[in-house]
Structure formats: C-alpha cells, structure tokens
C-alpha cells in the first residue's frame, strides 16, 4: 500500500494506460460517442421541451437510445421533466 501511494495520479494513469495498450483508444472512442449523443439530445431540448419520439426524430437516433440518455441525464441533473404531452413526458435541458 505504502509503495502504491508514492506514485502521483499522473504516474498511476500513465502506468495503467501503458498496461492497457490499444484498449485505451477503444475506451476513448466510446467516450467521444457518449459525449456526441448527449450533445445532440441537449441541442434539441435546449429551448423547448420535447418527448422521446420527438427527440429521436430530430436527432436520427432510435427512441430506446434517446430514452436511456434522457434517463442518464435526468439522474445527473442535466435534464428535467417539463410537461406531459399525450402519453409522453416532455424533457428540457436544465
């Protein structure tokens, strides 16, 4: 334990990234995709609250994926429930 603590965070990360090799790149690609999906959704609900099917239509993403991201961003305070529109909730960027 003592020995582990001697490494700074930069050194720890450098060492682990080296051990991971190509795997690091894959994870960075996935992260970029995740950020892209969130940005696309937030852009659509920035000014006006929209339902999942409306967001899916505007972004070209499928409804299931949109809903999963809405759920994620609701949990982490980026999106709020606004109104009920028919059988759906309309969401808006916080």
């Amino acid at each position: 334990m003592e020995e582990e603590k001697k490494l700074s965070y930069t050194e720890q990360i450098k060492e682990l990234r080296a051990r991971r090799g190509e795997g690091s790149k894959e994870k960075q690609e996935r992260s970029k995709e995740q950020i892209k999906a969130q940005k696309a959704i937030l852009a659509v609900i920035d000014k006006e609250a929209k339902t999942v099917p409306e967001i899916a239509e505007a972004t070209g993403m499928n409804t299931q994926e949109v809903f999963w991201w809405i759920t994620a961003m609701r949990k982490y305070n980026k999106v709020s429930d606004e109104t009920k529109k028919g059988d759906y909730i309309a969401y808006r960027k916080k």
């Binding site: 990360i13 060492e15 690091s24 995740q34 899916a56 809903f67 949990k75 429930d81 009920k84 759906y88």
Partner: protein
C-alpha cells in the same frame, strides 16, 4: 504489489447480507456473539432494498430494510466486509477457516467521505445494475442513494483513466493502483445466506428471449414502481411512453421442466398482484391483465390481497401465453390460449409486459465452490431436517438462512434467519461444552 494478508476471528461467519444475513447477524450479535458478515456486492440489503413495496401490507421496502442495514453497519459486534468474495471455507479441528478476497474499490475507504464529487466529475456512463440496466451510472459511482456503506466503486474495466474523479475528490482517497486484499478468517460456525437469482429473461425463446425492450423482468418492474426509480414514474423502456395496457405473464420461468425449474417459485403470484395494484394506483386508467395458470396465495392475508386486487378492476385471465412477438412500435403481442372456454387462441397487444421469472439459487456449491454443501434436486441447498430444523445443512456447524434453501417470501426468510441464528448459537454452546 498486494498488501499482507489480514487475519480475522469471529464466533460466526455469515455469508450474504440480504434480509436473511442481516437478520441472522443482528440476532447473534445482540446475544454478544462476534460476527463477520461478508457481502459480495458494494452495498448490503440484497434484493429487498431493490423492491418497491412489499406484499401484503404494501409497506415501503426500503423503509423496512434501511434501519436494519444501519443497525448492522453500526453494531459493535458485527465486522462488515462489503464488495468481498468468500473463496473457500474449510472445517479444521471443529473450526472453520475461510479464505476471503476484498475486491478493490480503487479508493481508501478510511478516507472516503461519500461526497459523490468523483461520480459527478466522471463522464463515463454505464448501465446501472441496481436499476437492472434501465437507468445509468458512472464508471465511479455509489451503488444507490441509501447504499451502506456510502463508498463508490470504480469500474476499472470501463474506466477511461482520465483522472477527473481523482482531481475532484476532496480527500485524495482514489487509488488507481489498489490491489485485492486477501483475508483469512477463523470462525466457530457459519451461516450461509446467499439468496436467489431469477431465471434469465432470455431463457424462454418463445417469449422472444431478450429481444423485446418492452418485455421486462419482475425486478425491472419493481424499479419502475419504486419512488426513486430510473424514469421517475412508470414508462416503457423502448420510448418512454406511459403505458395504457400492461400485462403480467405468470409462471414464465417456473413449473417448466425444459428450463430446469419444475417447481413453483411461490412468490411470483403475490408480487405480480402487488405490482398490478401499485400500477393501478399510479396509472388509474390503465388496463392491467394477469395471465395465470392458477393463483397461489399461500400466506396470511394473501387470499384477501388477491380478492382486493380483483375488486380494484385488475383482470385475471386463466390462460397460457404460447408465445410473444412485437409490432413495429415495439408493442408486445401475446398469443393467448384461454383455459376457461373453448375459444381459439387470440393475439392480444399490450404496451408493456412483465414476465414472472423463476427463482433459482444465487450460489450453488457444486458450480461455485466455497463449501461442499449437499443440494437437492432443485439445486437449492438441501436441509437435512426440513420439517423440524430447516436451517440444518449437510455439514455440521454450517447453517442456511433465507431463499438459499428454496423460494420464499420475506416473512418466511426472516423467520428462517432467526432459526439459523438460534441453531448456530446452540451449536457454539455445545462446542464450548466439549
């Protein structure tokens, strides 16, 4: 480099901190016994902390479980190890020797204050197993709001190694290089309380495997109904629609030899009725149908609970569901073969369907190792004296509590956990007298 092996001693080693393990530990600790309680998940509480409300009283599950979890965590005679695996338990000269591994959370638990700043800073999103993948968590996250203990786990397999969490942490307690901690424990007796799993939703191919987003498991339905559920209400996973028509398919993983589950899982009828009643409360105009072979309302007050559900307008249809498909909008279509008249099978479309999956043991000795207890034909741990002392296993000094010996509800689980604690205390007394 891994740290030196830690040595521990206890009167009783309890494996599994669901409601059975919690109850058995508290009963023994209150008698002055020293307990080592080992849980493989990041938090204690087992399945019960994951439920919405409980039949037949409709009390809030977390309101009942959380105080017990807190009592265990603060009890001076209970040494609690979470996110920890028991690898092997051996009986040597009348004592039990256990080899245990504490998995790395990648942080120093003695310094973490549970502030969640790491989780807020992390940008990697993952499906949240606590919400059965309906919701999301981060690569570093605390299991759920009232988790005990309130320490996060960093998922090293998914972590980007961006360092944002370490930067945000006010106590500098994150340690990306942390190794598993080996522990050796000695105990006078053992209580196994490893609980249950559900059969896979993909097991029944005629129900679409796991292809249809709006065909969900009973534990997913529990999360939809929970006050802090992933969607903030009952919606369906494919598009967030608030469902108008919901169906329950009973025996969708039990009483089926082809799945290796020929037995009745006992609690499915009751939890389906409970969920239907809760749905009817939150979606008063929705149509709710339970397709069943026969309703087994076995416990005290359970038949009345069933009759109340009928009176609330929940439809009970005695029918076999032959197969499930879906339309282009992901609406599940059920092929329904009614049992009470001679009508032809018909296709019925619903917005959301819950499959009452079967209960199977979470830990099976001949599959998972640890300790070679005998199992029954149903693969649950065999009680050697089921009628009189159900907590006795095939190994002297090892007792079983809760659903690890067979499907049962919370009341029976708690009663059995108390019995296992009494048997363990009696066994220790006999050993001391030798």
């Amino acid at each position: 480099m891994s740290a030196a092996t830690i040595q521990k001693k206890a009167d009783v080693l309890v494996v599994g901190a669901g409601i059975a393990g919690l109850q058995a530990s508290l009963d023994l600790a209150d008698q002055g016994k020293q307990i080592l309680l080992v849980e493989s998940q990041p938090s204690i509480g087992g399945r019960m902390i994951n439920l919405s409300k409980v039949f037949p009283t409709l009390d809030c599950a977390s309101c009942i479980t959380t105080p017990r979890m807190a009592s265990v965590a603060h009890h001076p005679s209970i040494d609690l190890l979470t996110y920890t695996e028991v690898n092997k338990i051996e009986r040597v000269n009348g004592k039990f020797h256990a080899r245990i591994t504490k998995k790395p959370r990648y942080l120093d638990e003695t310094a973490c204050i549970g502030c969640k700043r790491c989780e807020e800073a992390c940008t990697t999103y993952l499906p949240d197993e606590y919400d059965h993948s309906l919701g999301a968590k981060k690569a570093i996250s605390i299991a759920f709001t009232n988790a005990i203990p309130q320490y996060p786990v960093l998922d090293m397999d998914e972590c980007l190694l961006c360092g944002a969490c370490a930067k945000a942490c006010p106590t500098q307690c994150i340690n990306f290089m942390q190794e598993p901690q080996e522990i050796e424990a000695e105990a006078g007796a053992v209580i196994m309380a490893t609980g249950y799993n559900l059969t896979e939703i993909s097991a029944k191919k005629q129900y679409g495997g796991d292809k249809y987003p709006n065909v969900i498991s009973p534990l997913q339905m529990e999360r939809l109904l929970a006050p802090h559920g992933p969607y903030g209400g009952v919606m369906r996973p494919s598009d967030g629609k608030i469902p108008d028509s919901i169906a329950f398919v009973q025996c969708a993983g039990s009483r089926d030899k082809s799945l290796g589950v020929p037995y009745c899982s006992r609690v499915c009828c009751m939890y389906a009725i409970k969920q239907a009643m809760l749905l009817s409360g939150s979606l008063p105009i929705a149509d709710i149908t339970i397709y069943y072979m026969d309703i087994r309302a076995f416990g005290k007050g359970y038949e009345q609970f069933y009759q109340n559900a009928k009176a609330m307008g929940i439809q009970f249809v005695k029918a076999k569901v032959g197969r499930i498909s879906e339309d282009e909008n992901h609406n599940p279509i059920l092929r329904v073969e009614r049992q009470e008249d001679c009508s032809q099978p018909e296709d019925v479309t619903h917005d959301l369907v819950m499959l009452s999956l079967g209960m199977v043991p979470a830990w099976i000795p001949d599959r998972d190792g640890i300790i070679p207890l005998e199992i029954g034909e149903d693969r649950f741990v065999r009680s050697v004296n089921e009628k009189v002392t159900p907590s006795l296993t095939s190994m002297e000094g090892v007792f079983a509590a809760g659903t690890m010996t067979g499907p049962k509800d919370i009341v029976d689980t708690i009663v059995e956990a108390g019995a296992a604690a009494t048997e363990a205390a009696n066994y220790l007394r006999r050993q001391e007298g030798r």
